[in-house]
Amino acid sequence: MGTASTTAECVIKNKLGLHARPASLFVQTAAKFDSDITVRKGDEVANGKSLMSMLVLSAACGSKLIITARGPDAEQAVKALNELIDRRFDEE
């Protein structure tokens, strides 16, 4: 596995935050990539491929997240996840 790493900052915009459906979509999208994905909110870090971990992170509307991907497809992974958040998980 390569060691390329990409990072992006984004803000959760959908009203109800990362509730079950968006968190599921996030995890499902992350799972499509080989890279390891971490999501940081303040001091907390979650595994972007684990729903439980994302639910504990509890990103409400307005939360600032830093997504980091490490691996061969890091760039594409971050791009896809960032877009998902920007599209408000197709909820609004």
């Binding site: 459906r21 729903l51 909820e91």
Partner: protein, 586 residues
């Protein structure tokens, strides 16, 4: 004896089947050390339990999807991701190795930590996800223990189902052949679970303070859906008394059945139209045999619940079928009355933070013409085959009505140019179910052919009470003076404009309120077929001048309890046999 809220009439005597909480495994199992050599076996047990859970959830998802609730099915996607969560799985496996404890112990400790962390979140909505995690955790643990979960769609025989909570989808999946009755701790008389029980004709008591800890599988129970009582392990005398009561009920129902050919006329010859509420086309025979003068409310929502919008042709076939089957009897088709939440996946809608005050019903149809127009076309075309009328639900403002009538006119125009037949004179009505519409009824009445009062929503919106929330359900008061005033106002407005008024909410089927509604001048009462017999008898024991005097007196009352008491008293006097079966409370 335990007292709750009578949710669905009827008496059941039988064996208890306790499901849900009382049966749930504990998430705090006792320490269970294992040896190094047992580790691989524990890990295998754990992964096998995960696999079994995954299959169960997928099966559940498939079933719920096919029984019409697409939005409820989507929650199981998240449940599957919890089962598939690699972080969780790895954590459990490595802890089993490290701590030499059974999979049950390790899994529970870890899952409790997650549940606690999610519950501690500072956001009401996100915090509720802990219950999803717990739901999945219970399943995994049951599978680790080799326990079978009781499926309510297949009971081991005739049983009375006891549960802390039954969601509407639980209720919809109930094994109809074998469920005699059910009793729950949550819920109110007007929660959807209760409404479903009544339409399934299953006796039910809800809102019981405690029941799960007290009732065990196989206990003998009596459920009294008239009084809202649950009797545990009844004595012989009580059993006999209830057997008698049941026999009396049978007898009365048979009597009422035989009366179905009699006209619903007061003693002094005033005719009240009795009509039926239906929510699909399966039981049209029931209606034709019930003595109803027609269908006062045909709910079309079920056509839209399969995760897609039905086409004009699909709808037309359904509406035509009813029109033909009902011959010259009237059918009032209500246009789609759904919350946006139920169609969010089809319409790509965002979640409404406050669905009851949000984009629902006619508002949704106005926002999405692709919902409204095919339905209008289908109803109009069906009107060529029978006696069809149409009504719009939840109209609040006059401009909404204007817009609807304008769209309707343009639909008529295109049907004419396509040479499609329809009834040019088809009556158009609106439901009055918000205080705004009730207070403005005089203006609305000039533009339509009839009003239908939806008392459930009218009471709910007027009293500002969610009728499904047991914490405030006692404030849901159809007998509140304000409700009586609003109904009076609606009827007066209709009189002035020369149009007729129907009531199609629950009030119409409550025998206590029938004299009041008739006395106020309501011309039609529409209810589920099971209530028609009682309503007919009450009307036939009533004198119109008495009912009018009663309504006048009620309009002067300032307390809902007073109106309720008067209504009870009148019913006792004119139809004591009905009282013994009629529901208390509410």
């Amino acid at each position: 004896m335990l007292h709750g809220i009578p949710a669905s009439p009827g008496i059941a005597i039988g064996l208890a089947l306790a499901v849900g909480d009382s049966e749930r495994v504990s998430l705090e199992p006792e320490s269970h050390p294992i040896t190094e050599s047992e580790v691989p076996n524990e890990i295998n047990r754990f992964t096998a339990a995960l696999e079994k859970t995954r299959r169960q959830i997928m099966e559940l998802q498939k079933r719920v999807q096919s029984s019409l609730q697409a939005s409820e099915a989507s929650i199981f996607d998240a449940h599957l991701l919890i089962v598939d969560d690699k972080v969780l799985t790895q954590e459990v496996i490595s802890e089993i190795r490290k701590r030499l404890q059974s999979a049950n112990v390790v899994f529970c400790e870890i899952i409790r930590r997650y549940i606690a962390a999610i519950s501690a979140v500072d956001d009401q909505y996100l915090k509720e996800r802990a219950s999803d995690v717990a739901d999945v955790a219970y399943r995994i643990l049951e599978n680790l223990n080799g326990q079978e979960r009781q499926l309510l769609d297949h009971l081991p025989g005739q049983r009375i189902v006891i549960s802390r909570d039954l969601t509407p989808s639980d209720t919809a999946l109930l094994d109809r052949e074998n469920v005699q009755a059910f009793a729950t701790e949550t819920g109110s008389r007007t929660s959807h679970t209760a409404i479903l029980a009544r339409s399934m004709k299953i006796p039910a008591v809800v809102g019981l303070n405690v029941i799960c800890g007290q009732v065990h599988n196989g206990d003998m129970l009596i459920i009294d859906g008239f009084l809202g009582a649950v009797i545990l392990n009844p004595r012989q005398e009580t059993l006999e008394l209830y057997a008698q009561k049941e026999a009396f009920k049978e007898q009365l129902y048979n009597e009422l059945q035989r009366e179905s050919a009699l006209l619903p006329e007061t003693i002094d010859g005033y005719r009240v139209q009795l009509a039926a509420n239906i929510d699909n086309v399966n039981n049209l025979d029931d209606i034709l045999n019930s003595g109803a003068a027609g269908i006062g409310l045909f709910r079309t929502e079920y056509l839209f619940m399969g995760g897609k919008i039905p086409t004009e042709e699909e709808q037309f076939e359904v509406y035509r079928k009813i029109a033909v089957a009902m011959k010259d009897q009237t059918t009032i088709i209500r246009t789609l009355d759904l919350g946006g939440d139920k169609l969010s996946s089809v319409l790509n809608l965002s979640h409404d933070p406050n669905p009851f005050l949000g984009l629902r019903s006619i508002r949704l149809c106005l926002a999405y013409p692709e919902l409204l127009i095919p339905q209008l076309r289908a109803v109009l075309r069906a009107s060529a085959f029978g006696n069809i009328k149409m009504m719009f639900p939840m109209v609040t403002c006059e401009d909404e009505l204007d817009k609807l009538l304008e769209i309707l006119e343009s639909v008529r125009k295109s049907l004419r140019s396509e040479k499609k037949k329809f009834d040019e004179e088809m009556e158009i009505g609106i439901m009055i179910e918000t205080p705004a519409a009730a207070l403005f009824a005089e203006h609305l009445a000039r533009k339509v052919d009839f009003f239908s009062i939806g008392t459930n929503d009218l009471v709910q919106y007027t009293m500002a009470v969610d009728r499904g929330n047991e914490k405030v359900a006692n404030l849901y008061r159809p007998s509140h003076p304000v409700i009586v005033m609003l109904i009076d106002r609606i009827v007066r407005a209709a009189e002035k404009a020369g149009i007729w008024v129907s009531v199609c909410g629950e009030m119409a089927s409550d025998p206590r309120f029938i004299p009041l509604l008739v006395g106020l001048g309501v011309q039609e009462l529409s209810m589920s077929t099971v209530s028609l017999g009682m309503a007919r008898r009450v009307i036939r024991r009533l004198k119109m001048y008495e009912a009018e005097a009663f309504a006048e007196k009620a309009l002067k009352c300032t307390e809902h309890a007073q109106i309720l008491e008067m209504s009870d008293e009148l019913l006792h006097r004119i139809a004591p046999d009905v009282v013994s079966l009629a529901m208390k409370g509410g």
